[in-house]
Homo-oligomer: 147 residues x 2
């Protein structure tokens, strides 16, 4: 079964296809969970980034892999709903820190729990051992040093 000269790609291609399917379902669930709080996917992602603590706009752009000018708009919308606030950085007067309000943090927490529900549907069929195996494989795939 370990033939090295098997078609170079068939297996890999199938894994990629399956991952594509996972990506689709993940989005579906994520956007749906966000919509339950009248948030878009991007807003929910932003709120999740801000849950641990304040962060400069520039860093948020890097984490979301988008242009800083885009972050401005997303934070604007969250701010106008009272979920996020801006405040200047004490260290550098150029940077502004975005910070989740209490309500924003609560929303982020509930969102995270909703996403936990997501996990149960697709992961329901897996035993604990299988989940462990899956976790280890995903870790290795991502180059996680948690080995």
């Amino acid at each position: 079964m370990t033939e090295r000269t098997t078609p170079p790609d068939r297996l890999t291609r199938e894994v990629v296809e399956l991952i594509g399917e996972i990506v689709g379902r993940y989005h579906q669930e994520y956007d749906q969970a966000a919509a339950a709080y009248s948030l878009t996917g991007a807003q929910a992602r932003m709120l999740a980034l801000l849950a641990p603590g304040p962060s400069p706009m520039r860093l948020l752009a890097e984490q979301l892999k988008c242009e800083p000018s885009n972050v401005t708009g997303i934070v604007d919308r969250l701010e106008s709903r009272g979920l996020v606030e801006r405040r200047p950085s004490p260290d550098d007067r150029r940077v502004k820190l975005a910070e989740a309000t209490d309500e924003g943090r609560q929303t982020a927490t509930r969102l995270r729990e909703s996403l936990g529900d997501f996990a149960q549907t697709p992961l329901a069929g897996l035993t604990t051992e299988e989940r462990t195996a899956l976790r280890d494989l995903l870790r290795r795939m991502l180059g996680d040093p948690t080995d």
Copy 2:
């Protein structure tokens, strides 16, 4: 990070988090590959759907999980570039079939190969056995009856 009796399922949560990371990278690679052909992610996805053969608009909307009116716009843009054409269905005069042109199919093929490159970066660290294990786990997770 505390050693407390973590609520229900610490393992599941970690798997979800890892999947989130995979989703992020998948998008990054996909959009980048699409951009190499001056396509957006949605346009590339549409082209991939049309590569096997023509399809009615309605079906495309279902596969992309979006409103039919959205499909109209995406196909419009692809059509204006000569990558896709519309043609009436012989069976039902209400339906229009979207079909990739020769150039569209070529682009789709090249895009697929680019995505194969994606596979190699994250999957490079996995042996054939591990990939097989991963494939089986993902299949089961998705409820695939391919057992």
